[in-house]
Amino acid sequence: MRVHWRLPVVCLVLNMAFAPGARAQQVAPDDVQTLADAIDRFIAARWNEGGVQPAPAANDEEFLRRAYLDVAGRIPMVSEARKFLDDPAPNKRRALVDRLVDGPAYVRHFTNVWRKVLLSEAENSFQVRFLVPGFEAWLTKQLAERVPYDRMVRELLTAPRDRQQLFNNPGQAEPAPGAFYEAKEQKPENLGAATARLFLGLRVECAQCHDHPFGHWKREDFWRNAAFFSASEARAEQGAFDALREAFDRAELDIPGTEQVVEARFLDGAAPEWRFRVAPRQLLADWITSRDNPYFARAAVNRMWAWFFGTGLVDPPDDFDVHNPPSHPELLDELARQFAAHDYDVRFVIRAIAASRAYQLKSTLTHPSQEDPRVFARMSPRGLSGEQLFDSLVLATGYREPPGNRNPFDFYGNSPRREFLTRFADQVEGPTQWQTSILQALTLMNGQLTSDATSLDRSEILVAVAECPLLDTTGRIETLFLAALSRRPRPEETERLAAYVESGGPHHNATAALADVFWALLNSSEFLFNH
């Protein structure tokens, strides 16, 4: 790009005009890059300690697909892929992530991600599933409005527990954070345990019935924590929900099965400073989200790390314990510090992670020292969530979803999307240990979506590619690769597959042979996994 000779002068003049008092503009420090560099420093330090040889850097194609899946929850469209791959700008990777993080797909994807974290009971219960749309409406609002994470947690912890309102929400269209409480059955023990686990990474469940065998939680600690959520039920009239009345200030709880009544106390043993008319949950929210709470920011950034690498610095991510130390303690601390310093901006941390060299390593195993996922010497291949897979398949195949496909009240699994989500439900071992089942394999090989996408009559994308006069065989194959795998085929792949297509396959029909190639792409590990 040629710079006009007048440009620097104009810049200086403008600068002086719009920066009152500033003689020379300081270059704003690139905090994202600074944090990314810190990540790499700490990760590399451990490599050096252990004689680990990291995998080479991922190429543009690998980065493109990975970033789209992790930030936008789907693979890129062919046009998006071409645009990125052909862009010569040196900072295009940063620019891509910035664009994705500011886009609507981010909001959609992370509404899903947060909902699965906060409302995991929806998998097993109809009642909770009914409330999902209202809860997602609240999450979408938080994400779209860029509400800082600590404020989001405080809002959730102090949300009204009005059950009547929760169920009188037509179409569940109004934001309803109260669904969180309903999902935990409004029980203080469930709420205490869930909030400790989700926001502090502390597993206190064992201590519900007995002193924790490994940690230091005693039974009384568990119940004192639960007491913040105690509420008495006031019987309502016929047909209405019992109203929950919480204490105005001091909260207490009867430990079930005993005569003991305990007063609410924080998990670190400190007593809350009860104030008149300040609700117990408000005090708990303040304590949890306080900058002095060592777990809050750490648990949050650890969760984000696990999203992008498949394994947390503390793993499993909701078990911060002396017996389960972080793999990179200083890194965890630094991430937490920067997260808090930047106003608990989740997008900031995501941008920094995505800009790091560690995130941009290949997923191929080039040295045995890379096998341990906790040294982060290569990107671990990860399974996709049902939503990521379905949305990616829809994009890759041009599948037209039937109306009502995304009906959130589809409980009986009748829509193709719902069936797919059930078939490809999240696995409890996490995405790095993804196991494919026979039914999943059969669905991908012979199911409706694939068969429509690879049928000569029904597949619009196939017909478009096959009949496009501007494409030759090589071009057609390249387009299918870009659609499914977001990359161009390697020369030997092109050679082999072009020969197959031109020979027409078993039916001596070039389009049918093209359909076969597309089928193979859609069933490949390369398509099915995030790598």
């Binding site: 109809f126 499993p316 490949s524």
Partner: protein, 456 residues
């Protein structure tokens, strides 16, 4: 499996989580099963004999008074009479004439005493042995048992679920924290009001989704596709050994084996003589029982068949809140021939001795008849039945009072029943699996008191 333990701390010390995992896998430390371990060893029978289990799942909560615990001398019993069975002293409802003749092979538990009266929670509890608890995804019975009974390299999956109606309690039908390789292969969809399909459709419904190639894909073309896929996979898995890609390839191989092999023929009910298909009953449940027999024959260790609806009933399964007597009659007209034929068929093929049949629903029904001639949910006193191999048939365990309201003798909780099931299959119910919250969880809750009188 051991690759997972590479995540050790720099100092070489195993984290607590690793220790628990190693311990659960039996690598470190001893088994924690205690006294039940001895009992398991005794009841295992000959180690070479492979055991199977069929669960007959009665969605909705079947009425015990019109089935296995009739009360003809009390007004709670309603109009239904009791009939003699092949075992002296044991009487059942007149609605079960054919089953009555097989009583020597059956053991009735009349003293089921559970506390859950809600469909979703009770279904979950009876099918997993635990109440739904926050983040833990408890596995269903079929996953737990088939994990122990199954063979790794079998052509057919180890756990098949026929016509499950999952919607009522979605978490209760899955492998939970055991992972998808222990998930059931679902065959046919459970029906909800609107009745079962027409008789000749019943067989078509009982197919594995997507087991066949789409209509417009020939065998040759399918093979060509697999060859192309194989090339792509070779390229990818070279650089990505183990992990998700490896599981992907294994699943595809198994799926293709199922598509091509004998496995497909298992689902071809047309191969059976029409007279036998008539005896089972030309309906979803009856043909489902026939399919179960075929799968057991082919070595599938765990099959469940759900009875969710019958023609003429407008509601869910056995949930007879109204018009109980006519509705249960229709249900038993499907249940009686289906189950009785299953048992006689298995017996004729010499398979009954090695096949345990479990019959139960999520709860029973109120002895007091409500205003709609119906019965409502009743977990306080109800019946379940164990039949076939591994148990001593021809007996009744427990007793309810004359009015059927309370258990008077030998109350049985869900853990007690499931522990008994495990032991009769030669499985130690106290064995642990690692859950998704890092805590090891036993197959059956440790407070279980198995029904020793039932064990063979």
């Amino acid at each position: 499996m051991l690759e997972r333990f590479r995540g050790k701390l720099p100092s070489g010390v195993l984290s607590r989580r690793d220790l628990l995992r190693l311990s659960a896998a039996g690598v470190v430390g001893g088994s924690a099963s205690g006294w039940l371990e001895g009992l398991a060893a005794q009841t295992a029978g000959h180690p070479a004999r492979r055991r199977s289990c069929i669960l007959l799942w009665m969605s909705g909560g079947p009425s015990q008074l019109e089935t296995f615990d009739p009360k003809p001398d009390h007004e709670n019993g309603g109009p239904v009479k009791a009939i003699e069975t092949s075992v002296q002293g044991i009487r059942v409802s007149e609605y079960l004439p054919r089953l009555a003749r097989s009583m020597d092979d059956m053991a009735i538990v009349r003293s089921m005493n559970t506390k859950e009266g809600d469909h979703t929670r009770a279904t979950y509890m009876m099918r997993t042995g635990y109440l739904p608890q926050g983040p833990v995804h408890y596995p269903t019975l079929g996953s737990l048992l088939s994990k122990k009974l199954g063979q790794g390299d079998a052509e057919l999956p180890n756990f098949v679920s026929i016509a499950p109606f999952k919607a009522i309690s979605p978490g209760a039908f899955e492998a939970g924290f055991l992972g998808p390789q222990f998930a059931p292969l679902d065959v046919g969809q459970g029906q909800f009001p609107g009745g079962p399909p027409a008789p000749d459709d019943a067989a078509r419904q009982l197919q594995v989704d997507n087991l066949g190639r789409p209509g417009d894909v020939t065998g040759e073309q399918f093979n060509a596709r697999l060859a192309l896929l194989s090339d792509l996979e070779r390229g990818f898995s070279g650089g990505h050994p183990g992990g998700p890609p490896q599981s992907h390839q294994a699943a595809y191989e198994q799926a293709v084996r199922m598509m091509r092999g004998d496995a497909r023929t298992a689902f071809q009910l047309e191969a059976e003589p029409p007279a036998l298909r008539d005896a089972y009953g030309r309906n979803g449940f009856g043909q489902g029982c026939l399919l179960a027999r075929r799968l057991i024959e082919r070595g599938v260790p765990f099959v469940e068949v759900s009875l969710n609806s019958v023609a003429g009933n407008q509601f869910f399964g056995w949930d007879t809140h109204a018009n109980n007597f006519e509705s249960v009659k229709r249900l038993t007209e499907v249940l009686d021939p289906g189950w009785a034929t299953l048992m006689s068929d298995l017996k004729a093929r010499g398979l009954l001795d090695s096949t345990l049949i479990v019959w139960m629903g999520e709860f029973g029904r109120t002895p007091r008849i409500n205003g709609n001639q119906g019965r409502d949910h009743y977990p306080a006193a109800w019946s379940s039945v164990l039949a076939g191999g591994g148990i001593r048939g021809g007996q009744v365990v427990g007793r309810t009072g004359a009015d059927g309201m309370r258990v008077e003798e030998r109350p049985v909780a869900v853990a007690d029943l499931l522990a008994t099931v495990c032991l009769s299959l030669g499985i130690d119910p106290m064995e642990q699996n690692m859950s998704n919250v890092g805590r090891p969880i036993r197959i059956v809750s440790p407070d279980a008191k198995p029904i020793r009188e039932l064990l063979a």
